[in-house]
Symmetry: C2
Subunit: 92 residues, 2 copies
């Protein structure tokens, strides 16, 4: 699946999604469960939507481990598709 620049910009134009991306970038892959983002103070359904958008543009990979859903930022893959874009978000 080739993600369009439009989709990538739309995904990152939301401040909560950029916050999720920055939080994931600060920890090892697969260490943050979805439940750990409750401090963002958005409704659970909204949070699910944000994760879905991030998955759809290839920024996020998720896997279930027991009752937890763990996350990985697909940084190298996204960097290859959109060089420099993630770096702008991470230094924000």
């Amino acid at each position: 699946m080739e993600v369009s620049l439009q989709a990538a910009l739309d995904a990152l134009a939301d401040p909560v999604r950029r916050r999720i991306v920055r939080d994931l970038a600060e920890v090892p892959d697969w260490s943050l469960p979805c439940g750990s983002f409750n401090h963002l103070q958005v409704a659970k359904s909204t949070l699910s939507h944000h994760f879905s958008v991030l998955r759809n543009v290839g920024l996020l990979e998720q896997r279930d481990e027991g009752t937890r859903r763990l996350n990985r930022l697909r940084r190298p893959e996204f960097d290859e598709r959109f060089p420099g874009l993630l770096a702008l978000v991470l230094r924000e």
Copy 2:
């Protein structure tokens, strides 16, 4: 004026504005008058709004010459503030 990443992403998340940016990148500075963008088939007021948004994020500089308003893409300035972002738009 320090432009926020939010403002830059919002500005570039619009396909017509990205088209304007690409058109400007293909010609020498100050060679394209605003009237030359009529082929984009958007209302004149909408086009004015797009130019305004691009000016406000530091992507566009304009100057009047007689009855024409000429444009320059502020590429080096924008590249310094947001490295890599314009390159993604131009290769789209």
